[in-house]
């Protein structure tokens, strides 16, 4: 069966199984090096393996919830959105959420995902109490910050390469309502955007949409969205009637692949200009339901088809704080002069991060999509170089094209990880198309 990540690039013909029990899963591990597959929301090839891809979709049960601590125990294939829909009405919200709710809990651990609250709360791993992992010899090991610590530290952010994550125990956060008080602030250039981030480090959520095609004095113009969980006293109008609502909305689906070339410098420039002007008009504070605030793109199922049949790649880097201003300016300049803009460019301030393998570092992260083409791939390689020169690193959950040299020169942690994999027998048991490409 043909499989790819969310970016639909690269596409690999895979043998896929979907075991129903740990016994069946263990038997599947005997068929050769394997990788667990969640809901296919990582962009590149980190969750696919031509010979042995193991779908975790049947490990999708919620097992226990403790209303005193907010701890939820669930199988790895449970979808984050199902957690939110089940628990927001009871006053609990996921502690960290990426930009889509269609990820699985196992995937969230493997990529140690971050959200709009990273600067304050850290990544998902910070809220994980323990995980059960099926390791190379087929045994199941519970690991946590206190128990089998080394396995825990290498599994959180370890891209599924230490074993198959079976169960996750993590803490939800209590909320008074399902609504978010959203404040939009326009920033006319990169300096203004960074100033806004630095001035609001106590905001719970912050993220910026950045126009990467704007040039000159407008380079880096952004709409910065701050968010706070609304308290009951903040609610008015419709929100008062359903403080923990609203019910899930109907989704639209992008029915066909967009024709090639639909997204070009011209259309993206026009889109971005419109989006910016619209943002200027709607600047200020308003109440938004949690689904619309955190997952605007989830409302269009299959939005990845907008890039056409050849798919797209995402570039996401993190830059250390001291080098962020200079690095971001250079990256934006490179993109704008290539005219290869993305209409989904996101800028975010990261807080400190002390886990072993996770992507975030104190500083800034920039993420943007490019349709797959020779020109774009060449541009991304130039962006790689700028990132490395500024001491930055890359997000493996988004990657589908990096070289092992790029990874190693940006992030020495992975060389040690790869050595350890050989010693622990993991290299022979768990492999993805990405781990093979990156020599992990």
């Amino acid at each position: 069966m043909k499989l790819s990540g969310w970016g639909r690039y690269p596409v690999v013909d895979c043998t896929v199984s979907a075991p129903r029990s740990e016994t069946a899963l263990r038997a599947q591990l005997l068929c050769g090096p394997a990788i667990a597959h969640g809901n296919g929301r990582a962009y590149g090839d980190c969750a696919i393996n031509a010979a042995n891809t193991i779908s975790m979709r049947r490990f999708n049960r919620m097992l226990a919830f403790d209303p005193d601590t907010g701890q939820l125990v669930a199988e790895a294939g449970v979808i984050l959105g199902d957690v939110a829909f089940a628990f927001v009405p009871r006053g609990w919200f996921p502690p960290v959420t990426p930009g889509t709710k269609f990820v699985t809990l196992g995937g969230m651990v493997a990529a140690d995902v971050h959200g709009k609250n990273h600067h304050r709360d850290g990544s998902f791993g910070a809220f994980v109490d323990w995980i059960d992992v099926m390791v190379a010899d087929g045994s199941v090991i519970r690991c946590s910050p206190d128990e089998n610590v080394a396995l825990f530290e290498r599994t959180v952010g370890g891209m599924g390469l230490t074993g198959i994550i079976l169960r996750v125990a993590f803490r939800l956060r209590p909320v008074e309502s399902g609504w978010i008080v959203q404040t939009t602030i326009p920033a006319h250039n990169l300096d203004a955007a960074m100033e806004a981030f630095e001035g609001s480090l106590d905001a719970t959520y912050s993220v910026a949409w950045i126009d990467c095609l704007a040039t000159g004095s407008e380079a880096g113009r952004s709409l910065i969205l701050f968010g706070e969980h609304a308290r009951l006293a903040d609610l008015h109008g419709n929100a008062c009637r359903q403080p923990l609502g609203p019910a899930p909305k109907r989704k639209k689906t992008l029915p066909i692949d967009a024709p090639r070339g639909l997204l070009n410098g011209l259309t993206v420039r026009a889109f971005n200009a419109l989006y910016w002007r619209n943002g200027l008009r709607s600047a200020g504070t308003r109440l938004v339901d949690w689904d619309s605030y955190f997952y605007p793109l989830d409302a269009i199922l299959g939005w990845n088809r907008i890039y056409g049949r050849r798919g797209f790649v995402q570039f996401q880097c993190a830059l250390p704080l001291a080098a962020s201003r200079d690095g971001l300016a250079q990256i934006l300049n490179e993109i704008a002069s290539a005219g290869q803009g993305s209409f989904l460019a996101v800028l975010k301030r990261f807080g400190s991060q002390d886990s072993q393998l996770s992507f975030p570092m104190e500083g800034y992260t920039l993420a943007l999509d490019f349709p797959v083409s020779t020109r774009c791939l060449a541009l991304i390689e130039r962006l790689d170089r700028i990132t490395i020169e500024h001491g930055g690193r890359f997000y493996l959950a988004k990657d589908g094209r990096m070289t092992p040299q790029t990874l190693r020169s940006s992030d020495p942690r992975w060389a040690r990880f790869a050595e350890h994999r050989v010693e622990a027998g993991e290299a022979a048991a768990f492999r993805s198309a990405q781990s093979e490409r990156l020599a992990l």
Partner: protein
Amino acid sequence: MTQADAKGPVLILAARSDIGNAIAHRFAAAGHPIQLAARGAEGMEAMRADLALRHQVEVSVHALDALDIEAHEAFLDTLPALPEIAVCAVGLLGDQAASAADAGAATKVMRSNFEAPALLLGALANRFEARGSGVIVGLSSVAGDRGRATNYVYGAAKAGFTAFLSGLRNRLAPSGVHVVTVLPGFVNTQMTEGMDLPARLTAEPEEVALAVERAVTRRQNVIYVRRIWWLVMMIIRNIPEPLFKRMKI
């Protein structure tokens, strides 16, 4: 929720099956307490916890060996309450070649698809009739519409089950008890894993569950989950026997 609009319990027979599981989720999402009946306990606690956590309804688990006919009444006595709706997904596809060669294998398929589910629902029907309300849902099969070389032992048992449900519906109509016959067609489940099934004719378990819920609400009698199966089976039923007996379908 007030007592008046509290939803009645739904009993799922063979709850561990993919279809049973999907139906349990569907009714739990609508607010019904769920009674799960399955052979053995393996994996049932996870299923119970998941239903209860996602949908905030009461969920109980009950051991049931459907082939142990003598124990049916005792099983029904263990339920916390007589259900409002009972859904029977008991069944076994078996292997036609084995069934043709070995009477033991054939007996197991016949008992699993006809005797056991029919008698279990028969026992429930008597209790529903005495109460004067209830809905019985039997998952039969399009294979029962006409015997074919590739699965006639399974098909014959399902034909018997379909006829039993039809008779039960006829008998219970005056008492206010309703009987639904579900003919799912191909479904993407553990039973059909590894088979090369045509996509247009193959439903997901969730589609079956949606169709069952709808049939219960609308008090439908006999439903095909995908409507195209009505056409397919009408054609298959109407092929003249001299022709049909030489066909490979």
